[in-house]
């Protein structure tokens, strides 16, 4: 997982992107759909592209 590779806890990533820890947790579980702005903030924090973090192949 990209967050773990960056040695970040959910709380630390949440702090960096300006959301609560619960929001990060729910995004990781696929229970919350973040806005594009939040996706980009997470990508910038983890130095990854949108594709790498959020792309899912269509069923």
């Amino acid at each position: 997982m990209a967050r773990v590779e960056h040695d970040l806890s959910q709380a630390e990533l949440a702090d960096q992107v300006g959301v609560s820890r619960q929001t990060i947790g729910l995004i990781e579980l696929g229970k919350y759909n973040p806005t594009l702005n939040l996706c980009l903030a997470i990508c910038h924090s983890l130095d990854r592209t949108l594709d790498e973090l959020f792309w899912e192949k269509p069923e």
Partner: protein, 178 residues
Amino acid sequence: MGLFKKQNHEDERITNIKNKIYAEIYILVIVISIISIVMKYFIYDFGIEGTVTELIILILGTVYYMFRSTRLGVVSAEIEMHDRKSKWSQQKKNLFYGVSLGIGIALFFGINSAVQYAEGVRQSINYFLVTALGSLMIYLPFFLIILVVGNDVLKKKSDKAVNQMLEDGESGDNNEKY
């Protein structure tokens, strides 16, 4: 032809705008209710009985928000976000508000009693002290219980709701590294 085929996704832009409008409507309802209470109570002299409907709207709205935000874990998230940005934690602020409200109301009742019912300086001071201290003994614990203990209870319930949401998956980390 697929003309009447159900769409899988709603237009989220429209949903977001509608939600924003609903939030504005709620603020409008609160403002109208407060204006109505002020006018009925102070201008038309209806007494507190005449403002029951507005009070019910305000109280039920607040209770519903508290209930839903606790069940959905929003209270914990809000406190976390607040404590991250603010110098004073939410709990310290609640303590400060509780004490301020208790002292403020006690002073108001004390002054009101001294001005309305007392004759002479000595009696005014006596009335002020008795009423203010009596009110302080009632309202200080009341506001402290409502604001500090109440908020703590809501936060605990909200934490529980969030943990339950996060427990369902594999990567809930309870604020630890992994």
